[in-house]
């Protein structure tokens, strides 16, 4: 999708500056999620990270995905994680033993993964450019695509969600035992 009048990588245009700022917010809050010493703060920084990612989707003209992200990730999944923190009686304040002993090995693996991935994608996509056109990810277009082309995976996914919910209920109820 290389157009003829492709602008250079630097200076970034207006939407790219907004995207980069949102990306910095998302990366910083993700780093705080994996390094903070307070369990509840990790869940709240996860809200910031998901919100910034929703902003990134909006800049990328995927508006329906952005609102679904806000509804499901921020609204449902983080609340579920907070319930999990509450039900496992985690300490609210600062707790010292949230990181395991192999933290430095994990840091090495993380930095190596980042190095490999960033060098590969930069060398692969440094010329890729597309102008943004609004309306590509509106609810109407995406809905007609889901219910025309992707209707069979959609139905399979609803069955998967139902079975996962039944499994979660069966796992968390205590009066349904195994076979004695």
């Amino acid at each position: 999708m290389t157009s003829q009048a492709q602008p250079g990588l630097w200076p970034p245009s207006g939407p790219e500056i907004v995207f980069l700022l949102l990306g910095v917010v998302a990366l910083g809050s993700a780093l705080l999620v994996v390094t903070t010493r307070r369990l509840v703060h990790a869940a709240l920084w996860l809200v910031v990270c998901f919100g910034a990612l929703a902003g990134c989707y909006l800049v990328l003209t995927a508006e329906f995905v952005a609102w679904v992200q806000v509804l499901i990730y921020v609204g449902a999944i983080v609340v579920l994680l907070l319930f999990g923190i509450m039900l496992t009686r985690a300490p609210i304040g600062r707790s010292a033993d949230l990181d395991s002993g192999n933290r430095w090995a994990a840091a090495v693996v993380g930095v190596a993964t980042a190095g490999v991935l960033v060098s590969v994608v930069v060398s692969g996509f440094h010329t890729a450019y597309t102008p943004l056109e609004p309306g590509q990810g509106a609810a109407g277009t995406l809905g007609s695509s889901v219910f025309r082309t992707w209707v069979l995976p959609f139905e399979v996914l609803s069955v998967l969600l139902l079975s996962a919910l039944i499994g979660a209920i069966a796992l968390s109820r205590t009066d349904i035992g195994g076979r004695e």
């Binding site: 994996v34 990270c49 990730y73 990181d99 395991s100 002993g101 993380g110 991935l117 994608v121 450019y129």
Partner: protein, 141 residues
Amino acid sequence: MHIVYPVVVSALLFSIGVYGVLARRNAILVLMSVELMLNAVNLNLVAFDVWLRDRLHSGQVLTLFVIVIAAAEVGLGLAIVLAVFRTRRTIDVDRLRALSENAAGTDDESGDGDGGGDREGDRNGGGSRGTVASGGGEAAT
């Protein structure tokens, strides 16, 4: 929009998630890091959908599917974490050594004691809940 910006952000987010999965000890924090990795994949899918101008919008539809699968995953994962917490009274992933080869060995006597206590706790917990539950069960039968 240069595609290199979203894919670099996504690669960095994915590696932060990798670090979190490997370094965290609390099982709920491990689940949060898995969510970070899934979000990195979502950002990649949306960026490539916008770049390729897919007529079927497969990237964004797959993003929606991944969000649904993440919801199912975190629901099941939290149910498993709560079941583990109910029987073991801890969700530290490096203290759950029941499947390790030397779990009953020499290194962690306290872990072994925990293991013994786990079964007792399981039985007691099952019993104490069983008194509540068996009332319901007898009423049901």
